[in-house]
Symmetry: C2
Subunit: 118 residues, 2 copies
């Protein structure tokens, strides 16, 4: 088995100094819903349960997205990038992904240095 | 003008302790091409030039994607998330986005704890 991190088949995430990698979640239509962080436990929970689970840096604990709101993100496919420090989750959202109630956290476009909803 | 970071129209990125935010780049078909980091200078360069520019943590310098390869990422739209610590760039890639030559850095699926190309 080729265990090289870039070319191999070994899942060997490159966690940063805080023990985290970045996860990006996209909806079936390609919308980027949110970015969040995962430690090893969060990644394992995501893969085991099929529901996106992150590490909340603000709360300092494991955080299953939608654990209180019910707006979970059902994982359709999980991918990892070349240097294994980022994960891409294709998900089916069970409600708004953003805590503001917006479908996606990226509800503002940067236009001429200002933010515009759209 | 509403200057609240979540609801406002003021571009006010929340840089981390290293002065960085995360940027995710997607192709027109919704493929996530790559994740990288931006400092204030990289974000400004991206917005000014319309070509994705990052901060290379490994090289410790500004890095226009494709500066040597020619595989630049032409920015179609730039969005920012609710807490302004992540940017989503919709781009038109002028070649493979990954340094391995793959169209996207996310060329491997996590399946049963192993990585599979696809």
């Amino acid at each position: 088995m080729d265990n090289d991190r870039e070319t191999g088949s070994l899942l060997d995430p490159k966690y940063d100094a805080s023990g985290l990698i970045t996860a990006v979640c996209t909806a079936p239509d390609g919308t980027v819903l949110m970015l969040a962080h995962m430690n090893a436990e969060a990644l394992q929970a995501t893969l085991d349960t099929g529901e996106a689970t992150f590490w909340s840096r603000s709360r300092g604990r494991l955080w299953k997205k939608g654990e209180t709101s019910g707006h979970v993100l059902k994982v359709i496919e999980a991918r990892i990038d070349c240097d294994q420090d980022a994960v891409w989750l294709k998900v089916e959202p069970r409600g708004p992904a953003c805590h503001t109630g917006a479908p996606s956290c990226f509800y503002r476009i940067i236009e001429d240095g200002k933010l515009v909803r759209g």
